[in-house]
């Protein structure tokens, strides 16, 4: 039996890897991957808590599935936006994207 | 639906008609029909009102009606009129009517101009028929917004600056006002927005807790005072008036500024009598300053519209001054002054607009000898000037005399000194009026370009003559209008006096 702490450590590492990637990477695609990483970390948490603490319930699994669906949709939109941005400025580096300000 | 709502419905129908109108002719037809209908309606209302009062109708508000609008906040669309509102409605109708003729030949975007103009008058009429605070506030805002576009698009000179300044300052006033209104609403128990109900709540004076009154009274008074050109919140007025197109100046100085005095009296003072006694002196000093200060400022201005705008500051200051004198005579005088100033200043702005339309300058240093060139406009200007300086036979005289007699009934030194200071404004008024008349109308014209100019056209003459007749009629036969106004003023003044509040020590004049 794997202890709950190990699983949570994995998910925490994934989470902070995602945060770190989100803050440091310049490529929009990499940022999207980081976001996915964070989402996966939370999915893992949902599953772990459900499995380990409340084995009788299913809400955690449901939420994990729900979240996976959202992240799929979200990636699709994000990639669509990126393609559009790429068409406009031939680039998807975030520091080039300053049109949003003011 | 009672017939007071027609004052809002007719402008709405006019808006629709203007929207559908295809050319300038159609626009003019709609405007003439609509404004005439409003004038007739106001006349009918006056006659009916006087008839009903004579027949013994003693309710504070006549022809009341009420519809739920937003239940959770107890907001209702409630209408009703007393003597003061009838007078104000009549004034507004006259000015909308004459304003239509004064902007008969307005050129670019005629249709849009009249659309906004009608919306402005809708707000004004709605304000005067409402007795629900929230509805009043809403109509007030409706009247405000078109100002921005009317000045910004059709104005002259630094119009963008002026439009922005006017709107922002008045909106700033609205912000105070809204705090005040909600303060009153919750302070009075949060049960009703209806003014009469709040005033008579739990048997009269103590609807709102005294400590709360002292917060909401200044907010409400300043909120309306900004519109009534209370010193030091008056500076939007010279710039705004100077830039506004003719009919907008007329409506704005003639009616919109009266909303200020009306609101101060009807909401701030009526609903918070104790705070009025407690804090009134602060505002009395400010209005006293307005009266003298506006007059002195007008003496050295060189732009005709600035002169008139400062003169309005002085005269509207007198309105607020008179209502704060808190007796029936001075308050009746205040309403008379609102009427009289509304008509006179509309006449003035109409004439200035017409002169400006011909000479393309309003600088008194560049104008001279206009009497020979445009006798009609010049004679009109002299009459307006004489009316403004309080010549007997015109409305200014009766209003000022009523105010002075009323103010003088307060026997303490503080009020006496202020009254005498206010009396001095009649001399200063004479100085700046005669200075302008002497400079621009008399003498010989030295500007060759001006020699070719023509006198007023028929529509301009019509509008000027209507206003002069109104001013003269009010000035020659003041009895009926004074009696009508006083039926509205008396209950409010009695209500304010009924609150037997002992002044605290922070009032230096108790």
């Amino acid at each position: 039996m794997i202890q709950i702490e190990y699983l949570l450590i994995v998910s925490a590492v994934m989470m902070f890897a995602g945060v770190f990637g989100f803050l440091t990477r310049r490529s929009t695609l990499a940022i999207l991957l980081s976001v996915e990483l964070m989402l996966n970390a939370t999915d893992l948490n949902f599953a772990v808590f459900n499995r380990m603490l409340y084995p009788d319930g299913y809400e955690g699994y449901f939420f994990a599935l729900f979240s996976i669906a959202i992240s799929a949709a979200e990636s699709a939109i994000a990639i669509a936006i990126m393609i559009n941005i790429y068409r406009m400025i031939k680039n998807i580096q975030v520091d080039e994207l300053e049109k949003m300000k003011w | 639906m009672n017939f007071l709502s027609l004052f809002v419905l007719i402008p709405l129908v006019m808006l629709l008609g203007l929207w559908l109108a295809r050319d300038v002719k159609g626009v003019r037809a709609v405007m003439v029909a609509g404004s005439t209908a409003l004038l007739v309606l106001a006349g009918y209302l006056t006659i009916t009102f006087l008839g009903d009062r004579a027949a013994g109708a003693t309710e504070e508000m006549l022809y009341t009606a009420s519809f739920n609008w937003f239940e959770p906040l107890h907001i209702k669309y409630s209408v009703g009129v007393d003597g003061i509102s009838v007078a104000m409605l009549l004034l507004s109708a006259v000015i909308v009517f004459t304003g239509t003729f004064a902007s008969w030949q307005l050129k670019p975007l005629t249709k849009e101009y009249f659309l906004w103009f009608t919306l402005l008058s809708l707000g004004v009429f709605g304000f005067f028929i409402s007795i629900d605070m929230f509805a009043m506030f809403m109509f007030y805002e409706i009247a405000l917004i078109p100002m921005y576009l009317l000045i910004g698009v059709w104005g002259s000179g630094k119009k963008e600056y002026a439009a922005m300044k006017l709107t922002l300052m008045l909106m700033g006033g609205s912000a105070f006002l809204m705090c005040g209104i909600f303060g009153i609403f919750y302070g009075a128990g949060g049960q009703t927005m209806n003014i009469v109900e709040i005033a008579n709540h739990t048997g009269g004076a103590h609807a709102i807790d005294f400590s709360q009154q002292c917060i909401w009274f200044p907010l409400t008074f300043i909120g309306f005072g900004v519109l009534g050109a209370l010193f030091p919140f008056h500076t939007w007025s010279p710039d705004g008036h100077a830039s506004a197109p003719t009919a907008v100046s007329m409506l704005h100085a003639g009616v919109l500024m009266k909303l200020g005095g009306y609101g101060c009296f009807r909401i701030a003072m009526y609903l918070m009598p104790e705070a009025t006694h407690e804090l009134g002196w602060i505002f009395l000093i400010l209005t006293g300053i307005s009266v003298v200060y506006g007059a002195f400022s007008a003496c050295v201005q060189t732009d005709l519209k600035y002169i008139n705008a400062y003169s309005s500051v002085s005269h509207c200051g007198l309105v607020l001054f008179a209502i704060l004198m808190l007796n029936q005579t001075s308050c009746t005088g205040a309403v008379l002054q609102m009427l009289s100033h509304g008509l006179m200043t509309a006449l003035f702005f109409a004439l200035i607009g017409m002169i400006y339309g011909r000479t393309h300058t309003r600088d008194i240093r560049e104008l001279n000898g206009l009497m020979r060139i445009m006798p009609f406009l010049s004679v009109g200007y002299i009459l307006a000037g004489l009316a403004n300086l309080g010549l007997p036979g015109f409305s200014g005289f009766i209003a000022e005399m009523t105010i002075f007699v009323g103010s003088f009934q307060n026997a303490d030194t503080f009020h006496r000194v202020l009254t005498i200071a206010a009396c001095s404004s009649i001399v200063i008024t004479a100085v700046y009026i005669l200075r302008v008349v002497g400079k621009i109308l008399y003498g010989t014209c030295t500007n060759e370009h001006h020699l070719q100019l023509t006198d007023a056209t028929w529509d301009e003459r019509f509008s000027v003559i209507c206003l002069i007749l109104a001013v003269a009629a009010l000035g020659m036969a003041p009895l009926w209008v004074s009696d009508m106004i006083t039926t509205g003023v008396a209950p409010i003044v009695d209500h304010i006096h009924a609150s037997s509040h002992v002044l605290s020590t922070c009032n230096p004049f108790n």
Binding site: V19 | T235, R372, L389, P392, V431, G438, P478
Partner: protein, 634 residues
């Protein structure tokens, strides 16, 4: 007495008719309408006067009753006892004023036919004359002080309009403005006086026997004195007289009507109207009025001796004569006519002088108008030797000069003698001062007379344009007024007008009368000696010797310059300008600063919205951690 309302309404309608529809009238028609209306008004006034003085029963005490045919509430004030009424009140002085006003106004209407012939704005001129007549009549028949104030303002405006009749002349514009503003300034005090009076006495009316008056007694002197300041403005008392000489810029008939005979005596009339109050509650203030009057009389007479513009001389003479009336009212010490009549003699004398002065001063002005019409100049240098060209003007002018100098049997002698008697009764010093001023009057009037009709003829000018006698429309009023001046002195004035209304006979005090005649004749001889010749070596030598004094008197002691300084340098430059500056830069600057500040602040903080997603995320993360830390600690 019901027809009296027409006296007010007829001129009003003719004003509206000529003022609004004047464009469509020919000059002749306009003049005829105006004159016809005035004829009717004069006829009505005479009828009223006849009925009032001879057909109305006196009360048991022998007092003429006060009739009020009309009185209605015009504007309510909602204060106990106070309301603005309009009505007509007939009592001896108002009926006397009706006669004066309608007579002089009628003469001026007729005269203007000739004088204003062919002038641009002829219809307007007659409209204004009607307006003035209406207002002045309304003033004298007022039933209460507020109605009086209202018409008081209206006469001020008509005076403004008529002085500025030649509106293309800068001098006329300035003069009309000055006249209006100075009188308006004085009217402010009048208004405050009315307010005090109304507040403390609980009445604006002229019935002075009500209960309220005793309680207001303390404030009445203040109120009355403030009202007197208003009257001093209209009646050109020192130092508010400065507008009257300038007002001569108006057409000469206007000067005759407004600035000599009627409007300028409004101040005197006002004191006479409130006389019972003055004498009972404010005798001290009344004597102040007398001294103000005495000083003004002296000052104006001194200035009149040195002026060269004939209308200015007459204007200063008017100021001086009105001051005589003021003195006469001011020296009264009791209300009842009593045994010797002396304590209240001044009241009757003042009204008598008002009456006679109106006639002979109008005559002088109309005569001056004929002269100006003939030589096209106001300056004495353009005149001289006119007696052979203008015989009628010459004779009538001489009659008026004799009247104003106080030579019997002309009217001025009788009224002035009563004034001097009253002054002597009050205080011998006052009597001697007034006698001396009367002598000065005789001197400057004959200086004027000799300067115009004798003396050096301006041959050059007269060859160029021969002076001629005026047409009949102009000479008829002269002759009419001259006849009145000759006979008016024999009217038993005391039978009609006296302080308490009881009739009495006027006795000439031959001690006073003799002195004044001797002094007047001596002055006339002095003037004859100095001014009758072709040259005036004596006068020139005097002017040379006292050149400083002469210069000061000629410049009217520089009072105009003082006022100019006060209004322009102090009020305009040091009050109005700073206020306007303050408004634009401080008050408005504050709001502009507010707008600017908001704008600047938003520029400062807009940097936070950098648009860089990662920066947002970074801030977000930090914020989350900070919140967590707070929650953990709390």
């Amino acid at each position: 007495m019901e027809s009296t309302i027409l006296i007010l309404l007829l001129p009003f309608f003719s004003f509206i008719l000529l003022g609004v529809f004047g464009k469509w009238f020919s000059h002749k028609a306009a003049g005829l309408v105006g004159t016809a209306v005035l004829l009717a008004v004069a006829a009505l006034s005479y009828a009223t006067a006849y009925t009032y003085f001879f057909d109305t029963a006196r009360t048991a005490e022998g007092v003429l009753p006060t009739l009020v045919p009309y009185n209605f509430e015009w504007l309510p004030f909602f204060v106990e006892g106070l309301s603005f009424d309009m009505g007509i009140m007939l009592d001896p002085i108002s009926v006397m004023m009706l006669i004066v006003i309608s007579t002089v106004s009628l003469m001026v209407h007729i005269y203007s036919f000739g004088y204003m012939h062919g002038e641009r704005g002829f219809q307007r001129y007659y409209a204004f004359l009607s307006l003035f007549t209406m207002s002045m009549l309304g003033l004298v028949v007022a039933t209460n002080i507020f109605q009086m104030y209202m018409f008081w303002e209206l006469v001020g405006v008509s005076s403004y309009l008529l002085i500025g009749f030649y509106y293309t002349s800068p001098a006329a514009i300035a003069a009309s403005k000055k006249a209006f503003i100075v009188t308006r300034f004085a009217d402010m005090f009048f208004l405050i006086g009315i307010l005090i009076y109304g507040y403390y006495c609980r009445s604006f009316g002229f019935e002075f026997n009500q209960a309220g008056f005793a309680q207001g007694a303390m404030m009445l002197p203040t109120a009355l004195f403030l009202m007197f300041i208003g009257g001093a403005g209209k009646s050109a008392m020192f130092p508010l007289h400065i507008w009257l000489p300038d007002a001569m810029e108006g057409p000469t008939p206007v000067s005759a009507l407004i600035h000599a005979a009627t409007m300028v005596v409004a101040g005197v009339f006002q004191i006479a109207r409130l006389f019972p109050l003055w004498i009972e509650y404010a005798p001290g203030a009344l004597h102040v009025v007398a001294w103000v009057g005495a000083f003004t009389a002296f000052y104006a007479a001194a200035v009149a001796c040195c002026q060269s513009d004939i209308k200015r001389v007459l204007a200063f003479s008017t100021i001086s004569q009105i001051a005589f009336m003021m003195v006469s009212l001011g020296v009264c010490t009791e209300y009842t006519t009593g045994h010797e009549h002396v304590g209240s003699l001044g009241y009757m004398a003042s009204m008598f002088h008002l009456f006679t002065h109106a006639m002979f001063k109008a005559l002088l002005f109309l005569g001056a108008g004929c002269i100006i019409h003939a030589v096209h100049s106001n300056e004495m240098s353009a005149m001289g030797g006119l007696r052979k060209y203008m015989p009628i003007t010459h004779i009538t002018f001489l009659i008026a000069c004799l009247a104003i100098s106080g030579i019997p049997p002309f009217s001025g002698f009788f009224s002035k003698d009563e004034i001097l008697t009253a002054a002597f009764a009050y205080m011998p010093a006052m009597g001697w001062i007034m006698t001396a001023i009367a002598a000065m009057t005789a001197f400057y009037m004959f200086r004027l007379y000799f300067g115009i009709f004798w003396g050096t003829e301006n041959k050059e000018l007269h060859a160029h344009h021969t002076p001629h006698e005026a047409p009949l429309t102009m000479t008829f009023p002269l002759m009419f007024l001259a006849v009145v001046t000759c006979v008016a002195g024999f009217i038993p004035f005391g039978h009609f007008v006296s302080a308490d209304g009881v009739a009495y006979d006027i006795h000439l005090d031959w001690g006073v009368a003799g002195t004044s005649i001797v002094i007047a004749v001596a002055s006339i001889f002095l003037a004859t000696y100095m001014y009758i010749g072709e040259r005036q070596p004596k006068a020139d030598a005097m002017a040379e010797k006292f050149s400083k004094l002469h210069q000061w008197a000629y410049k009217r002691f520089y009072l105009d310059e003082v006022y100019q300084y006060i209004t322009h340098r102090i009020i305009f430059a040091h009050v109005s300008k700073p206020i306007a500056w303050f408004d634009r830069h401080v008050v408005d600057g504050f709001f502009n600063f507010l707008a600017w500040g908001t704008n600047a602040l938003s520029f400062q903080i807009r940097g936070f919205q950098s648009g860089s997603v990662q920066k947002y995320a970074y801030v977000f993360l930090l914020g989350t951690l900070a919140l967590l830390a707070i929650m953990a600690l709390a």
